[in-house]
């Protein structure tokens, strides 16, 4: 039993090494991109709002960072599978699909750690809340991470080449993190468009997080509804991912 756990752990570490540590170590330039992506919107929103939306923007930076993991995962899985045939090598080995995907998913977190470090520093400086609020916020981020990973994995099974994969990345990024009110409160969006914003799971995550940290007053009923939608979307995406996942092709 212990031997199997150790082997599985080694398989997970292999994914982390290949998809984040080695890339960050051998190509340090990628670190700049991982930092700039979630922070660029944050800076823009803070400047435009003359600092009044700093708290919302930091919250948005975290959510964007978590959601980006799934977008990156779908690109990386697709790239390693279609361009390097790495996944085929791993399929014909003792590694399990679960260990492979877990390693890849954690590698995305590690890959975004420079940006997260900057956001944590900003949060310590500018966000003030209780332990409960902090835990609630972490819960939202964990759910957002799982949602994006499930979405990324599902899309990776559909893309057969890098062009298709990039198209998926850009589309998800625009639909779920650029357009929805992630870096600012939904109340700033004209009313008819708010309905459209609710099509994105990131809107619910941002609304819960902004409310938890005191930036957006919503009723307990609305907060509960937001959680219900967010968790349902995550579960549905996971079910689709599990159903779509085929370690061996049919």
């Amino acid at each position: 039993m212990m031997v199997q756990v150790k082997r599985t752990l080694n398989q997970i570490i292999a994914g982390i090494l290949v998809n984040s540590i080695y890339e960050m170590k051998n190509y340090p330039i990628v670190l700049i991109n991982t930092v700039l992506s979630p922070l660029s919107f944050l800076i823009l929103i803070v400047f435009v709002s003359r600092g009044s939306l700093l708290g919302d923007a930091i919250v948005g930076g975290f959510i964007m960072s978590m959601f980006s993991n799934g977008i990156a995962l779908q690109g990386d899985l697709s790239h390693l599978k279609n361009d390097f045939k790495l996944q085929e090598m791993v399929v014909s080995s003792p590694a399990s699909a679960g260990a492979y995907v877990t390693g890849m998913a954690i590698s995305e977190l590690i890959y975004s750690s420079p940006a997260l470090a900057v956001l944590v520093a900003l949060a310590i400086l500018y966000l003030h809340g209780t332990l409960i609020q902090g835990l609630l916020f972490c819960g939202v981020l964990a759910t957002m991470f799982l949602t994006s990973i499930a979405l990324g994995f599902t899309l990776a099974t559909m893309s057969s080449d890098i062009v298709q994969s990039f198209a998926f990345s850009r589309l998800i990024s625009t639909l779920f993190s650029t357009l929805p009110p992630v870096y600012y409160p939904i109340t700033l969006i004209p009313h008819p468009f708010q309905y459209l914003a609710y099509l994105s799971p990131t809107t619910y995550a941002a609304q819960i997080a902004q409310n938890a940290l005191g930036y957006l007053p919503i009723s307990a009923h609305t907060a509960a509804l937001d959680w219900a939608v967010l968790l349902s979307v995550t579960m549905v995406l996971f079910l689709i991912a599990v159903k779509k996942a085929r370690w061996r092709e049919a």
Partner: protein
């Protein structure tokens, strides 16, 4: 490290969804010992990669069965995967990693600890003669060296059944021959299944050869056994058909490009060559090689079309 069992397939068939009724492989039945080097040869699209992917537990067959050393590729995949390793067709080394990192991470996917994998990686890279490049980035290496990195991954592993899908395609002749030495050694240690469309490669490396054509197995065995499938020992080839060959003693085969081959006796070959020379035809004459056997088996006019 050689297995002492058999590779057995029974009516193995694969029809890809969306390809109509075209069978990528069709009723492949074979029984081979699992030691030495087994080469699958055939043109592009003959079904070599599909067959290898099914045997390497990556692809489900549409029908039929396959076992390696008694392990069913569908039912015992988990057990089988502990014993197999593959370098897929068109596999590339990951650009942002070094050869050492490539082999090391692959071994960790096989369950080895970091420190153990590191030692094994260094040793395997030395065995394929690229120790001096182990810490360079893969993207800076030549095509031949990159291919050796991939061979080193399976060499470093504990797998005793190794699949190499067109390991030398795209390499220059010198790099290809260089790689042959390592593949030949690999075949002495483990059961190695390789696919190639270089007949010379199969002739040089393989202990047993299976010829695939349009998804069907048209011949299988050692080179000598394959030679015995054609009863004649000499081959004459021409770019176009001529009455001289049609009326000669022997077996005539015509390729899709219009070229023809006559397998015949030594006496008849020399008689014909004299006639062809006098009539000004351009032709080649030689003892039967794997190339001729392949040409003959893959172009038999009585071969049923899929």
């Amino acid at each position: 490290m050689n297995s002492d069992g058999r590779l057995i397939t029974r009516g193995l068939t694969k029809v890809y969804s969306g390809s109509g009724s075209r069978r990528a492989i069709d009723q492949i039945t074979m029984d081979m010992p699992t030691h030495g080097i087994l080469a699958f040869i055939g043109r592009n699209g003959a079904g070599k990669t599909t067959l290898v992917r099914i045997l390497a537990t990556q692809l489900e067959p549409t029908s039929g069965s396959a076992t390696i050393d008694g392990l069913d590729v569908m039912l015992d995949a988990r057990e089988l995967r502990k014993r197999i390793a593959i370098v897929p067709q068109e596999a590339r080394t990951v650009a942002w990693m070094s050869p050492k990192q490539t082999v090391l991470s692959y071994l960790m996917w096989r369950g080895f600890d970091y420190s153990e994998a590191k030692e094994m990686a260094v040793e395997a890279l030395a065995r394929v003669g690229i120790d001096q490049y182990r810490d360079k980035l893969n993207r800076t290496l030549s095509g031949g060296t990159k291919r050796k990195v991939l061979v080193a991954t399976v060499l470093a592993s504990e797998a005793d059944i190794v699949f190499l899908d067109e390991p030398t395609t795209g390499l220059d002749p010198i790099s290809r021959r260089d790689l042959w030495n390592y593949l030949s050694n690999l075949g002495r240690e483990r059961f190695t299944i390789l696919t190639t469309h270089y007949l010379e490669e199969a002739e040089q490396l393989a202990d047993r050869i299976s010829i695939l054509d349009r998804g069907r197995l048209v011949g299988t065995g050692t080179l000598e056994e394959l030679r015995s499938l054609v009863k004649y020992r000499y081959s004459i080839r021409l770019q176009q058909e001529t009455q001289l060959l049609v009326t000669a003693n022997g077996e005539l085969a015509k390729a899709r490009d219009g070229s023809v081959q006559l397998l015949t006796t030594e006496d008849e070959a020399f008689r014909l060559s004299k006639d062809l020379f006098e009539k000004g035809y351009r032709f080649s004459i030689s003892p039967v090689t794997l190339d001729d056997i392949f040409f003959h088996l893959a172009n038999r006019e009585d071969e049923p079309q899929p």
